[in-house]
Every structure is written in C-alpha cells, then in structure tokens.
Symmetry: C2
Subunit: 300 residues, 2 copies
C-alpha cells in the first residue's frame, strides 16, 4: 500500500492502471475511518483491481463556525486499517494542492442541496459535490462508494453523476451501526459517555417511525410529530429537523409511499448528529429486519 500526497502522482497511477486495463474503485473519505468506511472499502476490494481510499478533510464543506479545525485526523491508524483491508493507494493530498490560490470553480446540485441538512449547513453540499467531482477526475474510478448514513450526500452525488454524465458508477452501502443502534460516524468521537447514550435517541426515533409505518400510519406530519414527542421526552437533545422526503428528489412527502427517506439531525450537547432510514412499501419488512441486524460495537 502506498500513501500518495500529490495530484500529479495520483493521476500518473490512475492513468497507468487504466492503460493496463485495470478497474479503479474509489472510497472518498475524510479519514477517522470506522467500520462504516471499512464496509465500503471491502466492497471496493471485491469489485475493483485498484482500490483507492482518499483521505481529505475538505475545508469547502465546513462553514466558518463548524468543526473543521477539530475534526479527527488519525492518518497512522487509518493507514493501518486500510492496509489490513488490502487497499492499494491512500490518496492524501494537502489543502493547498486541492484548492490552490485563485481557486474559483464549484459544482452545485440545486434544490437537493438546500433541503434537510442544507438548510442548516448552507454551502456544505456545494463543497461536497465539488471535492467529489475533483476526486473523480483525479482518480478516474469506475465505481465510487458512499455510505447511506449520509443519505442526502448520496442522493446529491448520484444526481451530479447523472446530470454531468460522469463515467462513474455510484454504489451506496448500508449504514453500519453499533450494537446499541447508534449509526457509526467519525463525529461520535466528540461524544462523552453520557452523550453517547443520549445519542441513541436518533436510531430509536427512526425505529419508532418504522414501527408506526408498519402498523399502518402513512401520514408524514403525524409520524414526524410522534418522533418529535419521543425525542423531547427521552433525551436532552435539540432537533435541527425531522423530515420525510422522496429518496431521489429529497422533496417532502405528505404520505409514505414509494421510495421514502426519514431523516433527522439532532444536536446532543455541541455535537450535531444525523441518521436516517429508507422506507419502501415493497421492501419495508426486509429493511426493518436489516435495521435490527446490528453489528458489534467497534472501538472508536
């Protein structure tokens, strides 16, 4: 495994691999890798000849008052985990190479970027779409992997790839959870033990919503109200939003039908956490089962 720190060198490796007829799989990350990332890497390893994991804490997707400076950076540990999973290349460029002086170009996926988290993190998804477009051009993957935990991000990347005719397949992999139900996130590292318990309210509220839907409640407004009440009753948490939206367009729906997403963002102390579940009339039973198959907790 090699750690590549310049764009030129990464491009050279990508084009040599393509020239040799190899397929490239890319897992874009901001590092602080957890089992969720590793599940993407394992899928990439199954699919592709050359597996590239990019580790880049992307300033363009952080607002001025957000956690860019304190975001966990654990390269040595990440490299060890990647090596164990058979990763070929870690692409770890510096900020000044990715956004040089006079940098001016941004990719925007309109409307989808303004909903859900976009309302609370203006500019965030513009930063995400831009870095992903750059990474696709530098690494030239046939397949790129994203986690369903960031459902809005996945919807936006899929929309961008389709709209801009990018020659990349986007694979979105299921959210990995601790045994407790807590969705894995690099930001869980910010939580105290007490907050970690409080944070269970996110997955619990989603499970509750699924239970309600399974028992026939289809009215989005009423489901959201019930989730809100549960959260207020059970945990010291500040709700940014609870939304039920079409999974592709991210437009709010009034009634559960077709391919829906229930998503929420909640602040536990100073830590903003997100979680979501997909609901689909046809596969709902299967998905609920899936949600209950919880992985073992991993040390953070």
């Amino acid at each position: 495994m090699r750690i590549i720190r310049t764009i030129k060198e990464m491009e050279r490796i990508s084009y040599r691999a393509l020239g040799e007829g190899k397929s490239i799989g890319l897992v874009p990350t901001m590092g602080a890798l957890h089992e969720g990332h590793l599940s993407l890497i394992r899928q990439a390893r199954r699919d592709s000849d050359l597996v590239v994991v990019s580790i880049f804490v992307n300033p363009a997707q952080f607002a001025p008052k957000e956690d860019l400076k304190i975001y966990p950076r654990t390269l040595a540990k990440d490299a060890k985990a990647c090596k164990k999973e058979g990763v070929d290349i870690i692409f770890h460029p510096g900020v000044a190479l990715i956004y040089p002086k006079n940098y001016k170009t941004f990719v925007t996926v309109e409307e989808l970027s303004d909903r859900l988290c976009g309302e609370f993190r203006p500019g965030h998804f513009k930063g995400v779409a831009t870095i992903v477009a750059k990474l696709f051009n530098i690494v030239q993957p046939a397949i790129a992997y994203f986690g369903l935990k960031d459902a809005q991000q996945s919807a936006i990347i899929k929309r961008m790839v389709e709209d801009l005719n990018m020659p990349v397949e986007v694979k979105v992999m299921p959210t990995v959870r601790e045994a407790s139900g807590l969705a894995l996130s690099s930001r869980n590292a910010y939580l105290s033990e007490k907050e970690k318990k409080d944070a269970l309210i996110l997955s619990r509220a989603l499970s509750f919503a699924e239970y309600l839907v399974k028992n026939g409640l289809k009215d989005a407004r009423r489901i959201i109200k019930a989730m809100r009440q549960l959260i207020k009753k059970k945990a010291p948490a500040r709700i940014d939003y609870i939304s039920i939206v079409d999974a592709d367009t991210l437009k709010p729906v009034k009634k559960i039908s077709g391919n829906c997403l229930i998503a929420l963002a909640v602040r536990i102390g100073k830590v903003r956490l997100i979680d979501n579940i997909y609901l689909n009339g046809d596969t709902l039973a299967a998905r609920i089962k899936n949600l209950r198959v919880r992985r073992k907790s991993v040390p953070s």
Copy 2:
C-alpha cells in the same frame, strides 16, 4: 462522417476509440459554423485520431429575453462543411437528452463569470461551463478547442479544467476576421449590410487601442476613454462595456503590463457583438502584425 444524436451512442463511440488507443479532439460549437470554427476543426484534425464536433444550441447559456429561438440553426450546411474538413463525428443531441426533467447540476466559475459579459448576461457562463463539463464527460477528449474571440469563455473553461482537475488540454485559437477586420461570429448573420459596416467599429476601436499602447500610452482609463470617444463619434452603437483586464483572472488593470486583454461588447441595432485583443509587452509587435493579417471574407 456520422451524425450522432444520443448521449449513449456518443459515449459508446468515445470509449471504443479510447480502448483502441485513439486520441479524441473535441470542437464544441452551437453550429452556424464559420471560418473561425473551421480553424478549430482543422487544428483538431491535425492533432487527434478522432475529431468530434458537437453542435448544440445550449439553452442554459441564454437568458429568457436573449436570442435562443432565432439563433441560426444550419445543420445541413454545417455537416457539409464538417465533412469537407474530415470530421469523424458530429455530436448533435436533443435538448431533452442533455437537460432531462429534474436536471439540477451546474458548474460555476466564480468571479470570472461575473465580469465583462457576465455583468450583462447573468447566468451565461454558468450555462457555458456546465455544458462544456458535460461534453467533456460524454466525448472524453484529450484536447478541446475554443476560439479566442470568446476570450472570457476561454479563460473560464481553462480555469474550470484546472480547478476540477479535468484530464483535458484546452487549446485556444486566434480570432478569425473578415478582410474588413470584423471578427467572425454566428451572430453576424443578424446584421443588415448597413449594420455590418457599423460593426467595424469594434475592431477599429481595438486597433486604435493597440496603436495607443504601441505609442506608449499605458493608462487603462485613458485608453478606454479614447476608445469610447472613437466609437461614439464614428458609429450608431451602444456600448455595453469596454474593459482592460488581466487575461487569466479577468480583473481590471490600471496599467497595461503583463498579459492583458482589451475586450468590448457593443450593440449595433439589436445585435450584441463582442471582440477583444490580447496585449503583452513582449509580443505586442507580433500580435499587431497578426491582427493585420486578415483572412479573406467568407460568405455567411
């Protein structure tokens, strides 16, 4: 030569060519081809194995009140000219394939897009950058060709390619002019015989500016003032702007030095025309000579 009307078929051709080790040259156009376009095509023919000319009148770069509906569409004539120049593929997709329902993604080159023409055509360069990004992904060119007549467009495309790490070389070719000095443009077709004479004021004002610079005038404000006076005196024309800017950043300069661009947009009757010259201390003499080597007039 083949005319390809779907994205899928164009992608199939591009990837087959790349698989065979062929290089692709792309000349993106809106059709109504003139000698300016043909000079790009000839360069592409010299450089590349597979020459693709895209012909797509791009709605995203026209504002609601602009000339989208009446923009000249002359496919049969364009195809004949392309065939004569040895073009392999004309890519001529329909609008609904390029911008399907639910299309949401746009590429913006900030600041550069707001200056010069951007001030008078808000959204124009966002439309340009977006369609060019899409064409690059669909056609996968090693080299793409643009005319220096649209100097701001060239600067923006070059910035986008560098910023987004697109694996494309951008070649910008000199403006082709009629014997009279009039820069070739598909929009010249809108001009009456009288207006065509009035339109000579653009290249005359630029030649005058070059003359002033050659004779030692370096102050941008004074040069612009002199050009403005000449235009007002000589022709019934409405000036959108006359600007002297850095050729890469498009920021206004106070003094002629380094790599500058003198650009103007002028309305002759209802027709908005643009023209420009590059000024560079080192190569000024050569460039003035170049401006004076005027091609024969081509039938419009």
